[in-house]
């Protein structure tokens, strides 16, 4: 009888353990999409991308990311990606108001579409590499578009943000990372 009573409690006990894990999992700081990058604290990967055809902005390669006076931002974007459109304004602000240097990787995008997109929304990018076949995307290990990296002055990848830097929480997280990298003044 005692055994029976104990046995009958087992399902409840298991359910409570599961519930505990779920409660932990709901922590708003936890993001199942936040996949740690193997690139963090590693030198930026080798890549060499031509400019977008028909656009004045020069192409982008690894040499542009080393020996800079300060950290730079590398943003992976595409004209077919809707969140990128939302993110575009945030990045433009970072360039225009905070004097950040922004490089772009145009991921699997048709040159004419990318050009049209940049003409329509403005072009805050210093250099843009056209990654038509997604090869550089593989080197950078991106899981989707947009993704944004902060690369240190010596070419070390310092930070990776998956998804659009849109909304107060994401922006403050990203600015915090920029501050830590020394690209933004503290306070």
């Amino acid at each position: 009888m005692i055994m029976g009573r104990l046995l009958a409690f087992i399902p409840l006990a298991i359910a409570v353990v599961f519930g505990g894990f779920f409660l932990w999992g709901l922590n708003p700081d936890r993001d199942p999409n936040n996949i740690p990058s193997v690139l963090i604290s590693q030198p930026a990967p080798q890549f060499d991308l031509a400019a977008i055809e028909g656009l004045e902005t020069p192409g982008l390669s690894r040499t542009d990311l080393v020996d800079n006076p300060g950290p730079v931002i590398v943003n992976v974007f595409a004209s077919w990606c809707v969140p990128c459109r939302a993110e575009h304004g945030v990045l433009t602000q970072l360039v225009e108001n905070d004097g950040q240097r922004l490089f772009g990787i145009n991921y699997k995008d048709k040159p004419e579409d990318a050009t049209k997109w940049l003409v329509e929304l403005g072009n805050p990018y210093e250099k843009i590499g056209s990654d038509l076949n997604g090869r550089a995307g593989i080197e950078w290990g991106i899981s989707g578009v947009p993704e944004t990296f902060i690369v240190g002055a010596d070419g070390t990848v310092l930070f990776r943000y998956v998804g659009p830097v849109v909304g107060d929480e994401a922006i403050s997280k990203f600015r915090e990372a920029l501050t830590q990298a020394g690209a933004l003044p503290r306070g």
Binding site: A8, G25, I35
Partner: protein, 666 residues
Amino acid sequence: MTPEIGHFALALALALALVQSVLPILGAARGNILWMQSARWSAFGQVIFVSIAFGALMQAFITSDFTVKNVVENSNSLKPMLFKVAGTWGSHEGSLLLWTLILTVFGAAVALFGSNIPQALKARTLSVQAWISVGFLTFMLFTSNPFDRVFPPPGDGFDLNPLLQDVGLAMHPPLLYFGYVGFSIVFSFAVAALIEGRIDAAWARWVRPWTLAAWMSLTAGIALGSWWAYYELGWGGWWFWDPVENVSFMPWLMGTALLHSAIVTEKRDAFKSWTILLAILTFSLSLLGTFVVRSGLLTSVHAFAVDPERGLYILGLLALTIGGSLALFAWRAPAMEPGGMFKPISREAGLLVNNLILATATGIVLFGTLYPLFYEAVTGGEKLSVGPPFFNGAFIPVMLPLVFAMGLGPYLSWKRADLPGVLQRLRFVAVLSVLATLAVWYLTEGGPVLGYLSLMIAFWLFLATVREWTMRIKLFEAPFSESRRRARNLPRSAHGMTLAHSGLAIAMFGFIASTVWKSEEIVFVQPGAEISIGGFDVTFDGLERVRGPNYFADRGQLTVNRDGQFVTTLFPERRTYPVAQSSTTESAIRSTLAGDLYASIANPASEEVSEQGAWTLRILYEPLVNFIWIGSAMLILGGGLSLSDRRLRVGAPRRKASAPTQVAAE
């Protein structure tokens, strides 16, 4: 105006649900018949008000009312009408409304058809059902109101995810929800029985039709979802062990166990606490499914938008429902007296094996699905993912013994079976299964041992099931007229079992053949290229651009020949939806019973290749893949036959009302 009516109707439904969650159960405790009977009217009222709300939302979608936020986010004026209607349940809020609607429909169905159920049990069951209603209605009204307005209204909507614009998918959620939510009524019955402290054979008989109906819908929903993944996603597979698939599969496994364990409770008055536990767990897993999809706990291709507040609310709801019912179980179940005794070799023991294996399989799927979360919690943030290798490796070896036992089970008699006698009768079946497998081995060019073993067990199940049926009706042993008479006299549930069990065997042929003997080619092609696969010669003729209502597409043309004879022309498409800014793959399939020839095209992967006008072409040959859907259909039909058994008929017994009340009075 209409959206406000919908909103108001939801509030009214909540008020009724609140009354129904208290009054009938109090009435049952005090013996107040009037209070108990109030459940009938409040259950009807709930279904009416939630239907009004659902209708209001649907109307907003049909008329493209872009002042409603939900419509803006999930619809578009250019969308075909069918998908405007389906958009009603395409979003988080809308699907929740559908969930609640089905919940109230089941409540009302019990109120309407459950005339043979004792008053007190019915009142308690409906009160428990109303508790769930209250939970979901408040969830909707407080955190996910589908009728929120937006100002100023935008000119047009964002469009539904194009992947979801498919007829199969439009029907997939309703069926799946019917299954999920159908188990709610079984859960309510179980909790009511625990409160009452009495479970007997009659209880099992009242619960069985609801279990069967829910199980059939869930089977249909899963099969349809898998069919959709196969035809629409363009990946050429029918099951991916994705978390969202798994959470619908777990209630199915548990529900299947429940279906069988309830038979023992009904026939032999045994397995009582086990049946109750399974009823609770099946619905708990359905709730878990709803929770995982909406909370952002796990990543998946088809998760809804994530919102931590919603997640917390659902977790609270889950804690109350699952924790509460399991606590009640822990408190009351030990008091239930054990029923009929049985020997280790008997029908009961066979069904016990069935239950244990199905529970283990559910545990494996649950563990694999949630392991990434557990791992992350324990290691403090490290991530991993559990993929098909784990599930295939752990699940298949557990299920094979079950399928073997399935062949044997129906031959065993209740209480005590004669195993040597049964084996004697199955000698030919065993020999035939081995011979059939050897024949396949001879005809195919090889494959893994597990494949042949699985195939042998599938043959075994099919032959043993058919043999059992022919023995019962004495086919070929007695004159045909005699067999026909016997077949007519056999209970429909027996025919149902034969159909469902052999359906599983048929589906297994599909699973095995399309996994083991599938061939696949991925090539860059230019017009004129030729590929040979599965005995077919495929020529890529070229590509043209076509226009659809809300998309444009690149359509490839492939000519298929076999031995120099023209077979068919395939037109795989790559569609781009400009408004939703995404694209889908529409694969082209030549489907026959022997197998599917499956072609899809994708944008060229590299720059140099694309300049030459080449495309990535993927061609698959999946043998016997249609057996999966045929087998699934047999499972559903088998369930339906069993449901139509006279013994279980839900609404009909009014004519001879005396018979069921006798049962109820015992």
